[in-house]
C-alpha cells in the first residue's frame, strides 16, 4: 500500500470518530468558558490540559508507573492462572464442575465491598491492589480459554483420531489454534478490566497511583486534576488493549482467516 492509500484508509476508518471528538471538545470548551457550568463541576478541556501539564511530573513519573506496575503484575498473574484454570477445566470434568460455580460467584461479589477485605489482609502494600486487579481480570481469561477450547472442532478431532492421535496431540494441533481467537478476546477484555481493578484498589487504600491521586484531588475539589487522571487511566487502558490486539495480529497473521 502506498502512503497515500494508507492515509486514505486511516481517515476512512477513524476520520469520523476524530471529527466527533473534536466537535465534542469544542462544544464542551464553549459551554464551560461561557460560564453555563461551574468549573468545579465540569472543568474546561483547556483547564484539564493545564492541570495535566502542571502535575505532569507527579502524574507520569510517580502515579502512572505505580498503577502500571499493579496492572502488569495483576494481569500477568491473571493470565497465567486463568490459562491454567481454563485448560485444567477442559481436561478434567470434575475440576470444571467444582470450579465453574466458584468462578461465577467470584464475579457476583461486589468489588467495592470485597476490596476493604483485601486491604485488611494485605495492608496498604501493592498486593492489596494486585489482588483486586486479579479478581477483576482472571474471569474473562478463564471463561474464554475454557469456551474456546470447547468450541467446535469435532470433525477435526475425529479426523486426527483416525490418524491415531492421542488427546494431547489433538489439544496441541487442533484445540489450541481454534481457541486462540477466543482467548485473545478474553485477554483484551481482561487487560481493560485490570486498569479498572487497580484504580478501585487504589481508591480504597493506597499511598500512590492514579486512583489514589484522583481521590485526593476530588477531596480537594480539584476537578481538573481528577479529570486529568481519569483521561490518563483511560489512555492506559486503550494502549494496553491495542497492544494485545497487535500481539494477536502478529501471532495469528495468515492464520485463522476462515
Amino acid at each position: 500500500m502506498t502512503m497515500k492509500a494508507r492515509l486514505k484508509k486511516w481517515t476512512g476508518d477513524y476520520g469520523l470518530f476524530l471529527l466527533v471528538i473534536i466537535a465534542l471538545i469544542s462544544i464542551w470548551e464553549c459551554v464551560v468558558s461561557q460560564g453555563m457550568i461551574p468549573a468545579f463541576i465540569l472543568p474546561a478541556p483547556s483547564a484539564i490540559w493545564g492541570s495535566f501539564v502542571e502535575n505532569r511530573q507527579l502524574l507520569l513519573e510517580v502515579h502512572l508507573p505505580a498503577t502500571l506496575k499493579e496492572v502488569l503484575i495483576g494481569f500477568g498473574i491473571a493470565v497465567i492462572s486463568g490459562l491454567l484454570l481454563g485448560v485444567g477445566m477442559h481436561f478434567f470434568r470434575a475440576l470444571e464442575k467444582v470450579l465453574y460455580p466458584f468462578l461465577v460467584i467470584s464475579q457476583t461479589v461486589p468489588l467495592i465491598a470485597i476490596s476493604p477485605i483485601f486491604i485488611m489482609w494485605f495492608g496498604y502494600s501493592i498486593w492489596s491492589k494486585i489482588a483486586v486487579t486479579i479478581l477483576t481480570a482472571f474471569f474473562p481469561i478463564v471463561v474464554s480459554t475454557y469456551d474456546g477450547l470447547k468450541s467446535g472442532g469435532k470433525e477435526y478431532r475425529e479426523l486426527l483420531l483416525t490418524m491415531g492421535a492421542n488427546r494431547w496431540t489433538i489439544f496441541q494441533k487442533i484445540q489450541v489454534p481454534l481457541a486462540l481467537p477466543a482467548i485473545f478476546s478474553g485477554l483484551k477484555l481482561s487487560v481493560v478490566y485490570c486498569v479498572v481493578g487497580a484504580t478501585i484498589g487504589e481508591w480504597l487504600g493506597a499511598s500512590v497511583g492514579l486512583g489514589y491521586f484522583s481521590r485526593r484531588m476530588s477531596g480537594n475539589l480539584q476537578a481538573d486534576a481528577v479529570f486529568a487522571a481519569i483521561f490518563l487511566l483511560s489512555l492506559l487502558g486503550i494502549l494496553l488493549f491495542l497492544l494485545i490486539g497487535l500481539l494477536e495480529k502478529q501471532l495469528l497473521k495468515n492464520k485463522i482467516r476462515s
Binding site: E158, L159, A165, K173, I256
Partner: protein
C-alpha cells in the same frame, strides 16, 4: 520392486488375489435407544480393489465408515483389518471425510505433514516425497499456499494427498467429491482414474452418485433395507471418463438403477 508390486496390484484388481484387507463379519450397530441401522452386515474388500458403497441418505453409510475407522465400536460382529481384529482400530486406515477439513492456519505442506507429525516420524525426510506428490497432483508450487487460497477441487486433492500421507494401505473415502460442482467432479474422476494404476492402494468409497460409483469401482456394495448387495463392475481398466458414453456402461447403470428401485 515397483514393477513387481504393480503386477501384483493388477492381479489384485482382477480378483485373483484373495487376501481381504478389510473383512466385516455380522456387524450390528444401533444408536442408543434406536432401531439398529444395520444388522448382521458382512463385507470383504481385497487388497488393490476399488470398492464403492452406495445407499440412500440415512442408510448408515457414514456410520459404517466410522465403525471401520474405529471412531465407533460395533455392538456385535467383527471388523478385521489386514488380517487382524484389533480392539483399537484408530490409526489403522486412511480416512478422508466429506469435508476437506484442511486446517486453515496451516499451509498446504504443513497440512500434508499432519499425519506424519502424529505418528512422530521424521518430517524432513518426507518433504521431498510430498513435493513430488504435489506436482503429480497438479499442485506444484502450491506448498506454501493456505487452503482458503485454493479452489474446491484443489482442496479436495490436498485432502486426498493427506490421506495418502498416512501411509495406510486401506483408504476410506467418505463422499470426497460430494461437495464439488459437476464440472470439477468430472475432472477429479479423470484425475483419479489416471492416477489409480500407480497408487497401489485399496479404496472403500462412499457415494450416492451411481455414475461415479460405476466409473471408479471394481465392485459396488448397495446398502439397503435388506442388507448389502454385492455387484461386480466388469469394465476393463485402465478407464477414462469417456467410458460413461459406452453401451456397457449404460447397461450397467440401468441394472444398478433397477436394483435400487427394487430396494425401495
Amino acid at each position: 520392486m515397483n514393477i513387481c508390486s504393480g503386477i501384483w496390484f493388477i492381479r489384485g484388481a482382477s480378483g485373483l488375489s484373495n487376501s481381504p484387507i478389510l473383512s466385516i463379519k455380522d456387524l450390528t450397530y444401533a444408536f442408543k435407544g434406536e432401531r439398529p441401522i444395520f444388522q448382521k452386515l458382512s463385507l470383504d474388500v481385497k487388497a488393490g480393489e476399488f470398492v464403492s458403497l452406495i445407499g440412500a441418505s440415512g442408510s448408515g453409510k457414514s456410520t459404517l465408515f466410522k465403525l471401520i475407522t474405529g471412531l465407533l465400536e460395533p455392538e456385535q460382529g467383527e471388523i478385521w483389518i489386514d488380517g487382524q481384529m484389533a480392539g483399537n482400530r484408530l490409526g489403522s486406515v486412511g480416512y478422508m471425510p466429506q469435508k476437506d477439513l484442511l486446517l486453515p492456519w496451516r499451509t498446504v505442506l504443513e497440512n500434508l505433514l499432519l499425519p506424519i507429525e502424529i505418528t512422530k516420524e521424521s518430517k524432513k525426510q518426507r518433504i521431498p516425497e510430498i513435493l513430488e506428490w504435489l506436482s503429480r497432483f497438479g499442485l506444484a508450487d502450491y506448498e506454501k499456499a493456505f487452503p482458503q487460497e485454493l479452489s474446491g477441487g484443489m482442496k479436495q486433492r490436498v485432502a486426498f494427498l493427506r490421506t495418502l500421507m498416512t501411509g495406510k494401505n486401506l483408504l476410506i473415502l467418505d463422499e470426497p467429491f460430494g461437495a464439488l460442482d459437476s464440472l470439477t467432479k468430472r475432472n477429479m474422476h479423470s484425475w483419479l482414474l489416471g492416477l489409480w494404476g500407480e497408487l497401489q492402494k485399496t479404496v472403500l468409497f462412499i457415494t450416492h452418485d451411481l455414475e461415479e460409483a460405476i466409473l471408479l469401482s471394481d465392485r459396488i456394495y448397495l446398502l439397503g433395507r435388506k442388507g448389502l448387495q454385492d455387484i461386480n463392475v466388469n469394465l476393463p481398466r485402465p478407464r477414462n471418463s469417456e467410458l460413461i458414453y459406452q453401451s456397457a456402461f449404460i447397461t450397467m447403470r440401468k441394472e444398478l438403477e433397477r436394483l435400487i428401485d427394487n430396494e425401495s
